[in-house]
Each structure stands twice: as structure tokens, then as C-alpha cells.
């Protein structure tokens, strides 16, 4: 059963708005703008209850029953109530005046308003298929260019051929679209109905851009959820989804899309039983889905007036993973979804698991898609910072900090949730582990994203664990693992098991050019006192080094000639800097002076030279 359950990729929200079901004495109205349900009992005399999905407490009031209510709405912010009882009058219960701001004279068959985008669509002409949009903003109304909806076949009569039932408006990927449900017509040879998308920009002309093939006929309803077009089919009681950003068949102007996934029913829904405590033993009642009493509103609302529920429709991403087998397409799909992060990370973990392992080309594709999105965000962020820093932000008030969506999966996410766990798994062959890590690093480099140190460390750790030192050596040779002090130190620690690590580490410290002290320490620890001194002299730092440190190291070598050389070097430095070869008390070299005298005699000390 769990298998079955996991298959449903659409569900009704858990907490619907519950209202008194429609009946002869209770009229139910829905206001799309505020997404509020009005339950008007006995024309308002016995109460009006207003509920919205976001409202915590419902608004209740009474009003006089002055006849049948045709429509009832609140203004934004619930300040003013408007009631329409006849075809031509709207009543505002309190005394208010309305001002006519602008008027347009058009013969209108029907209208449709999209509150999200503040655009009204008017159906004009005899056939009704010429649509005139208007855009409202800050008290003004602007006329947008009108456009014609292509009807399936040349209409025989001159009667209204475009019904408002077949038109919807919704914002998809930030752009307003007009959706036209074109039913199957006998004259056309298309196999079924289709949804035609018209892109309606604020400026410019409206263009037909996408066609969604439904491959079936009958009664349909549309929703838009998380930028997906959901098409419900009542006859089969299933729904399909379309994603216009996924690659379709492009003919130069229009892209043809097929459903992303096979048709599935909305996940079965149980109506929670409300009622007296005595009857709670009753099990929840299954809700009739795709009921004929369902009314669908944009973008994602489904209302069952007969049952008294308002739901929002939701997309479940986890089931999609098992239905969409092409991992590249799956990633394209998931990256466009709102709550995608954890699902994407779980897909990554899954394709690296031993039982469900993806091939390297697939893994590479997935990494590239993730990093493409990651890079886009980094670039936007960088541009924003640059504009702010250079002070151009004042001249550009529209500038906004880029939003980090869930689709931005960075190195730390990958490391924490996927890669560090993956490299720990004993059952996975190390060859595969290394190949995957290198593939991820390759992808980051391809998008010119600087690779974080912890990823390099993961590679090194894996290579060291399997004694693949020569591989490590080659990676370092081609600078695949970027230079850093921590990496150099890590290499130093490997010297005992892999001697060449010493050279690799010194080279790296040298390239960093900020690690000269470390180089001296490394050389001294290897008793290469002369080499250390030559190095520090080569970079011109020999006037500031501690004589004691070098003399200590020289003494430890038990090589008297070396000690002599080092001692003499510092005597000469003293002479040059202070005009006297003797050490000052602050240098704490008494012990070394004594040792020098003991071995080479007092007369071997350098004499102060005076000019």
C-alpha cells in the first residue's frame, strides 16, 4: 500500500477551509481576490460567515435580508463590504461614494479578472474570441493590446464560441499567461484536447507560446501550482502536470509539451469527522475526488460546495523521483520547484548508493545542472555586491538582493548531506568514490566556482585511506587540489607514510608566498639549517630572524662545522646591523657563545672591526 501511496504526486492541503455546505437556505460565494468563502444564510439575516485560507478566525456578521444575494465581496483588508443583489446595482452597507475614474465603451460578452496580476480580460466581438486586456495600477487603468484566440475550427454560426469556462489566467514563472482549453474538434486531426498558452506581457503583443497536449477528451479543469499547469480530467478522475520550462518540441515559435508524468489521481483524502465526542470512534470518511460539485479557481483552489470545503492543491515531489526515470529531466523539474532542496539532495544520495547507482555520465549531468543553478545565484549575488559597493545602488532603487531559492545547492549542502556520508560507506568501491568526487570538482571548475577546502580534504582522505599516493601526487602536480596552508600541513603529516609529500608540501608553501615562516620551520625540523638560512636570505628576511632558533637547530645536528657556519653568519649580521659581532643579551645566545668558545676556542670569535 505504501508503494501505491507514494505514487500520488498531487494532494489536497491538510487543513482545508471548512464552511457550511451549500443548501437552499445557505448560499456560498467565493471571492478570488481575497480568497474568501462567504456563507450567506437566509440572505444574511441569520448570519454571514467569511473564511479565508490564511484567516485564523472567521468574520461573522448579520445583515438585513433584502432579497437574493448575487455576489458578495470584501475590499482588500476587509474594510468595505460590497453586495450585489440585482444585475445592475452594488450595495455598500455603509454610506460611501464611488468615483468614476475612467471609462471605456466596449461590447463585452464576459470578463475575467486576475487579482494576482491586476489584469482584467474582456471577451469582445460576436464570437467572443477577441480578448481585450486592461491592467490596473495605482488608480490608473491601461489598455493592453488585444489578441485573438484561435478557435479549433471555423465556427458555422455567428454565435458566441469562446466560453469563459475554457479560459484561465495565471502567473507562470513570473509571467502572466492566458490559458485556453481547446477541446477536441472533429475537423482537426489532433488526438485530443489541448491547453494553449498565450503569454501576455505588460508591454508588447500577446503571443501564443506553448501547447500542452492532453491526449484525451472530456471535461477538464485547470490549476496552476508551483509554476506547473495541472489539468484535471473528470472522466478518468486523474490529473496530469505540465512544466513549460522543461524541454519540449520547439517548432520555431511554439513549444509542444507532453505531460511530465503519467496521469495520476489526486491522493485520496479523508474528511476528518467533526462532531460530538461520543461518536469519534467513527472512522474518517473518504472524500469523493473529482466530484461534479467541485469548482476550481486559479491558481490552486478547489472548492467542494456540497461538502463545504476549500482546499489548495499541492505538488508532492518525493513520488516524482520514482516516476521520472531520466535523472537529467528529473533535475530540471525539481530545480524549478519551491521546496526542492531536500528532495534533490536525496536524489543525489540515491544515485550514489550501491543499490541504485547511477552511471558516471548521469551523475555528471546532475552535478552540472546543480552547479549551473548555483553559479547563477553566485553571479547575481556578486553583481549585487558590486553595485552596492560602487555606490550605484542609490541611482537604482529597484535593485534587490538576489533571493536564494531552494534550488541553490552549494558545496556545503552537497558535502554535508551527500558526499561526506557517501565517502564513509564501506561497501562502495573506492574507485567509484574518487570518480564521483572528481566529477563534482570537475563540474565546479567548469562553472568557475572556487572549490572549498573541505572537498579537497575529502579527496585526499579517500586517496590516503586506500594508499593511492601516486594518484594524489598527480592531482597535486596538475593543481587539481588548490594550494592552501591547511592542505600543505596535511601533506606534511603524510610524509612518514609517503615521503614525496614533503616536497609537495614545500612546493605548495612556496607558491602560497605567505607561508615563509612555515617553510623555515619545516626545514629546521628536518635539520636543514643551512637550507633554511639560505631560503630566508633569498627572500630578504634574514635580518629579522631569531639567531637563537637557528643556533639551537644547528647545535642539535651535532655537526660542529655547521654550527660554526651558522654562528659566523649571525656574528656577521650583528656586525652589519650594530657594528659589533657580539650577541645582545636580548637574543639569549649566551649558551651558544659558550659552546662555540668551548669547541673552537676564544680566539675563533669574530673581532669587532672598526673603520
Amino acid at each position: 500500500m505504501s508503494e501505491e501511496e507514494e505514487d500520488y504526486y498531487l494532494e489536497l492541503c491538510e487543513r482545508p477551509v471548512h464552511f457550511e455546505k451549500a443548501n437552499p437556505v445557505n448560499c456560498v460565494f467565493f471571492d478570488e481576490a481575497n480568497k474568501q468563502v462567504f456563507a450567506v444564510r437566509s440572505g444574511g439575516a441569520t448570519g454571514v460567515v467569511v473564511k479565508g485560507p490564511e484567516d485564523r478566525s472567521p468574520i461573522s456578521f448579520r445583515m438585513e435580508d433584502k432579497g437574493e444575494v448575487k455576489c458578495i465581496k470584501f475590499s482588500l483588508g476587509n474594510k468595505i463590504l460590497a453586495v450585489q443583489r440585482t444585475a445592475k446595482t452594488v450595495v455598500l452597507p455603509e454610506k460611501r461614494s464611488l468615483k468614476l475614474l475612467k471609462s471605456q465603451n466596449i461590447n463585452v460578452n464576459w470578463y475575467m479578472y486576475c487579482p494576482e496580476s491586476s489584469v482584467i480580460l474582456l471577451s469582445t466581438t460576436v464570437l467572443g474570441n477577441v480578448l481585450q486586456p486592461f491592467y490596473f495600477r495605482a488608480g490608473t487603468m491601461s489598455k493592453l493590446s488585444k489578441f485573438e484566440i484561435e478557435l479549433p475550427a471555423a465556427p458555422k454560426s455567428t454565435k458566441l464560441s469562446l466560453s469563459e469556462r475554457d479560459i484561465a489566467m495565471a502567473t507562470i514563472y513570473g509571467q502572466l499567461h492566458v490559458l485556453f482549453l481547446r477541446h477536441h474538434s472533429r475537423t482537426s486531426n489532433s488526438a485530443g484536447a489541448e491547453v494553449v498558452l498565450y503569454h501576455l506581457p505588460r508591454e508588447g503583443v500577446c503571443k501564443k507560446t506553448h501547447i500542452l497536449k492532453l491526449n484525451r477528451t472530456g471535461k477538464f479543469a485547470l490549476n496552476v501550482v508551483d509554476n506547473l499547469v495541472v489539468v484535471h480530467h473528470q472522466d478518468t478522475e486523474t490529473s496530469v502536470i505540465f512544466d513549460i520550462k522543461l524541454r519540449g518540441e520547439f517548432d520555431g515559435t511554439i513549444t509542444l509539451h507532453h505531460p511530465v508524468l503519467p496521469a495520476r489521481s489526486i491522493q485520496p483524502y479523508q474528511i476528518p469527522m467533526a462532531g460530538p465526542a461520543s461518536v469519534t470512534s467513527q472512522s474518517p470518511v473518504p472524500c469523493k475526488l473529482y466530484s461534479s460539485s467541485w469548482i476550481v479557481f486559479q491558481p490552486d483552489i478547489i472548492i467542494s460546495a456540497s461538502q463545504g470545503y476549500l482546499w489548495t492543491l499541492q505538488v508532492k515531489l518525493q513520488p516524482v523521483v520514482n516516476l521520472l526515470l531520466d535523472k537529467g529531466r528529473l533535475m530540471d523539474f525539481l530545480l524549478q520547484r519551491r521546496d526542492c532542496k531536500m528532495v534533490i539532495l536525496s536524489v543525489c544520495s540515491q544515485m550514489l548508493s550501491e543499490s541504485d547507482r547511477g552511471t558516471l555520465p548521469v551523475i555528471a549531468t546532475v552535478f552540472d545542472k546543480l552547479n549551473h543553478e548555483y553559479k547563477k545565484y553566485l553571479e547575481a549575488e556578486q553583481n549585487y555586491t558590486m553595485v552596492v559597493e560602487t555606490g550605484q545602488s542609490r541611482s537604482n532603487p529597484l535593485l534587490k538582493r538576489p533571493v536564494r531559492t531552494q534550488a541553490v545547492i552549494d558545496q556545503s549542502d552537497m558535502y554535508t548531506h551527500v558526499l561526506s556520508v557517501f565517502t564513509e560507506k564501506k561497501e562502495i568501491p573506492h574507485k567509484f568514490v574518487i570518480a564521483v568526487l572528481m566529477e563534482y570538482i570537475r563540474s565546479l571548475n567548469q562553472f568557475q566556482i572556487p572549490v572549498q577546502h573541505y572537498l579537497h580534504e575529502l579527496v585526499i582522505k579517500t586517496l590516503v585511506q586506500h594508499n593511492l599516493f601516486y594518484m594524489l601526487h598527480q592531482f597535486l602536480q596538475y593543481h587539481v587540489l588548490s594550494d592552501s596552508k591547511p592542505l600543505a600541513c596535511l601533506l606534511l603529516s603524510l610524509e612518514s607514510i609517503y615521503p614525496p609529500a614533503h616536497q609537495l608540501s614545500l612546493d605548495m608553501l612556496k607558491r602560497l608566498s605567505t607561508a615563509n615562516d612555515e617553510i623555515v620551520e619545516v626545514l629546521l625540523s628536518k635539520h636543514q639549517v643551512l637550507a633554511a638560512l639560505r631560503f630566508i636570505r633569498g627572500i630578504g628576511g634574514h635580518d629579522n630572524i631569531s639567531a637563537r632558533k637557528f643556533l639551537d637547530a644547528a647545535k642539535q645536528t651535532e655537526d660542529n662545522m655547521l654550527f660554526y657556519t651558522i654562528f659566523r653568519f649571525f656574528e656577521q649580521r650583528n656586525q652589519r646591523l650594530r657594528g659589533n659581532p657580539n650577541f645582545t643579551p636580548g637574543e639569549h645566545c649566551d649558551e651558544h657563545v659558550a659552546f662555540f668558545k668551548q669547541v673552537f676556542g676564544d680566539q675563533a670569535l669574530m673581532k669587532p672591526t672598526t673603520f
Binding site: A364, R442, Y470, Q474, P500, R511
Partner: protein, 458 residues
């Protein structure tokens, strides 16, 4: 051969006089001495002389062992020739006798060559003991005969120089991104041709990636660059190497072809025989088939377990998978390499003539050699200078400390040798009026420009 007048002798290059392998345990009793000899070159030599020479070597080794039990004599230098003794495995001795090029000077190049011989023998034949286990002395003798018959022909002592002593690997310079692409390619190929155990990748005869351990790669590299690749150069130059295989339907156009294995994949009778190599002989002792596949300048070596016999189907699959991708990759590398060359401006003739070698990763680099093949060593400097390089190197090998040697050659050239940790650098400067300090400064400058990304002591 021996009848060379003293006057002419100077012009004679060093030459191989004889080469033999013996095991004293195989014929300890008198009259059975011949059994000791496993291989003798030249084979025409009279039996008694063979026995005499082997006996002499045995005696020298035994005699010197009294002075240094753990390190018996490695070479014996006489007026006319020099003998090298090498004991690669217990009681197995390889002896090489080289005629000295000139009476007063001697070549030091011989020693490492004996060792490489042994290594290459190891790569293609495994150990002596292993061969004995496989089929006794007879099999061992057959294998030695087969191997050295061909190998000694590729040995050109007269063209040996410092680079042969190092036996290094030339690495192809490459940017990180292209390198990662190659990594990605190799990993994908190993995944789809799932029987591949190790892979190596070369471009322009220079190494880019080795899945083998360093020691094994060193020998394989030498084989590829001195034997296998040169054999295929001629047809490439002749233009017979661009079979854009459009005739096979559904086959992507590519330039891939096998350097080992089947010559013509369309021939159903094509033989899929690949050379066998032996790696990790110290511990796991693996026997592998060596598949070398090349597209344009990119060569990739796939090594698969010898227990699997690659079929013609496998070869065709390999060709169809690797061929197109390797062709694209090869042109990518070429393009990237040209871009990098333009950026760094290294297109110009390098101002300095130098040889660099790093013992740690066996990386070698030479601006002295215009072309180095086993039979020709085309250097831009006089052989006498090359000789000095050899001498400096032999001084370095005796010392553990870092050191620097500056030599003013007779021909007004300055020769500088530097040793820092595991690295050696040899520079030849043509500044006859320069003094020691100026030469030192010049070399410092060279290090700062050419080797600024490594820790190289001034």
C-alpha cells in the same frame, strides 16, 4: 670488431660487446658450467668462451664480496671496456660488457641501462622465478631469448645521455580544467568498459595520467615512447592514419585506432592479441593485457586482467565508445594547449638550455633535446657538454647534501648543475665573457622564471 687502430678508436661510439644472464646454482659441478648460462648475446660466440666469461664474472663478484658482503661489485672498468653486474633476483646475474667510447673518458650511462633492461624484462615477462615456476629453466631460456633478441636491437648506446640515466617521464603541461576533463573521460571509460583495471593517458608522447604505480609507469612509459609509438610514427606521417570511418553506418566519425591488438575491426578474422605485462611484481604480481588505443595525438592505455581474453566484440565496443570521445578530447587538448602557449608566450625559443629532473615524480624536462628517440638523440649542444652533464650527475649521486657545481667548459660554455632536495637542474650557458658571479645570477634568474612554482633553493 676488436681490431680498431688507436687513431680511429676515438671516433668509435660506445658499443655493446656482450650481454649475458646466468645463475651459478644451475651448474655448480665441473663440466656442467654451460647450464649456468640462461642467455648469451651474441649467440655465435664459441661455447668455451661463453663459459670463460661467465666464470670470470662469477669470480669477480665472489672476490669483491669479501670486501663488501652486502654490496658486491657493480661494475669493472678496464682499459678497453666496462662490465656491469646486476643481480635483479637472488642468484640471477645480468652482465653487460660495453666498449669504451674513448680511452681516456668513460661512459657512466651503462649502469642504469642494465637496470632498465631488467625492469622492462620484468614488465613484459615477470620475474625469473615466476617463469621457472611456470615451466622450469627451458621456459625461462625461451622467454629470455625472445625478449632480448628484440630488446637488444633497440638499445643504442651511442645515443644514450643524461636523460637515459634519469629514465624520467615527460609530463604534458595542461590547465586544470582540461586535466579534469581527461579525468572524467578516464573514469567514464573505466566504468563502461568495466573490465579495465588501470588506465594511462598520454598526449604527444607525454604522460598526463597514470593509474599504475610510478615504478611500473616508468617502464611502461619507456616502452611506449621508445618502442611502440616510434613504430607507428611512419604510417601516421604517411597519412595512412586517418581512417574517418564513415563507411560503417551509425558509426560516429572518429580517428581512433588500436596500436596494439586488432588492425582492422571489420575483418572478422582479426586477431585480438595484446602484449602481456606484469605489474606490482613486489606484492600482488598482476598479469595484464596492454591495450593501446590512439586518436590523433592522444593515446590511452587500458590494462585489463590477463585472465580475460578481450574478444573482437569487446574491441569493437571499445572502439565505438572510446573513439569518438577520445577524438573530441584530443582536439580539446590541442586547442587548450595552443591557447596556453600563446598566453605564456613560450612559443619562443627558450633562452636557456637546461635539463631538469625530479626524482620524486620522475618528471623530466629538457630544452636541450630537439628530438629524442632511442636511435637518435638530437641535441642542440656539443656531445662534450653532454658528457660534462653526465659527470656532474655522477658527482651528485655520490652526495646526499644539496649542492651546486659550476664548470667552465673548454668551448667557453658554462655548465651549471644544481641539486636541491630531490631535484636536479643542469644549465648550459653560452656566455664566454661572463664570470662566476654573473653565471650564478643568470641561473638564479632562470629558476625565478621557469621554476617559480616549486621550492627550489637558490
Amino acid at each position: 670488431m676488436a681490431a680498431a687502430g688507436a687513431a680511429q678508436e676515438k671516433q668509435f661510439p660506445p658499443a655493446l660487446l656482450s650481454f649475458f644472464i646466468y645463475n651459478p646454482r644451475f651448474g655448480p659441478r665441473e663440466g656442467e658450467e654451460e647450464k649456468k648460462i640462461l642467455f648469451y648475446h651474441p649467440n655465435e660466440v664459441e661455447k668455451n668462451e661463453k663459459i670463460r666469461n661467465v666464470g670470470l664474472c662469477e669470480a669477480i663478484v665472489q672476490f669483491t664480496r669479501t670486501f663488501s658482503p652486502s654490496k658486491p661489485a657493480k661494475s669493472l672498468h678496464t682499459q678497453k671496456n666496462r662490465q656491469f653486474f646486476n643481480e635483479p633476483e637472488e642468484n640471477f646475474w645480468m652482465v653487460m660488457v660495453v666498449r669504451n667510447p674513448m680511452i681516456e673518458k668513460h661512459s657512466k650511462d651503462g649502469k642504469p641501462i642494465v637496470e632498465y633492461q631488467e625492469e622492462e624484462l620484468l614488465l613484459f615477462n615477470g620475474t625469473f622465478l615466476k617463469a621457472m615456476e611456470d615451466g622450469g629453466v627451458k621456459v625461462l631460456k625461451e622467454r629470455l631469448e625472445k625478449f632480448f633478441h628484440r630488446y637488444l636491437q633497440t638499445l643504442h648506446l651511442q645515443s644514450c645521455d643524461l636523460l637515459d640515466i634519469f629514465g624520467g617521464i615527460s609530463f604534458f603541461p595542461l590547465d586544470k580544467m582540461t586535466y579534469l576533463k581527461i579525468q572524467s573521460f578516464i573514469n567514464k571509460m573505466e566504468e563502461s568498459l568495466n573490465i579495465v583495471k588501470y588506465t594511462a593517458f598520454l598526449y604527444n608522447d607525454q604522460l598526463i595520467w597514470s593509474g599504475l604505480e610510478q615504478d611500473d609507469m616508468r617502464i611502461l612509459y619507456k616502452y611506449l615512447t621508445t618502442s611502440l609509438f616510434p613504430r607507428h610514427i611512419e604510417p601516421e606521417l604517411a597519412g595512412r592514419d586517418s581512417p574517418i570511418r564513415a563507411e560503417m553506418p551509425g558509426n560516429l566519425q572518429h580517428y581512433g585506432r588500436f596500436l596494439t591488438g586488432p588492425l582492422n575491426l571489420n575483418d572478422p578474422e582479426a586477431k585480438c592479441r595484446f602484449p602481456k605485462i606484469f605489474v606490482n611484481t613486489d606484492d600482488t604480481y598482476e598479469e595484464l593485457h596492454l591495450i593501446v588505443y590512439k586518436a590523433m595525438s592522444a593515446a590511452v592505455c587500458f590494462m585489463i586482467d590477463a585472465s580475460m581474453q578481450p574478444s573482437l566484440d569487446f574491441c569493437r565496443r571499445l572502439d565505438s565508445i572510446v573513439g569518438p570521445q577520445l577524438t573530441v578530447l584530443a582536439s580539446d587538448i590541442c586547442e587548450q594547449y595552443n591557447i596556453n602557449k600563446r598566453i605564456s608566450g613560450s612559443e619562443k625559443e627558450p633562452q636557456f638550455k637546461f635539463i631538469y629532473f625530479n626524482h620524486m615524480n620522475l618528471a623530466e624536462k629538457s630544452t636541450i633535446h630537439m628530438r629524442k628517440t632511442p636511435s637518435i638523440s638530437l641535441t642542440s649542444v656539443h656531445p662534450d657538454l653532454m658528457k660534462i652533464l653526465g659527470d656532474i650527475n655522477s658527482d651528485f649521486t655520490r652526495m646526499d647534501e644539496d649542492e651546486e657545481i659550476i664548470v667552465k667548459a673548454m668551448s667557453d660554455y658554462w655548465v651549471v648543475g644544481k641539486k636541491s632536495d630531490q631535484r636536479e637542474l643542469y644549465v648550459i650557458l653560452n656566455q664566454k665573457n661572463a664570470n662566476l658571479i654573473e653565471v650564478n645570477e643568470e641561473v638564479k634568474k632562470l629558476c625565478a622564471t621557469q621554476f617559480n612554482n616549486i621550492f627550489f633553493l637558490d
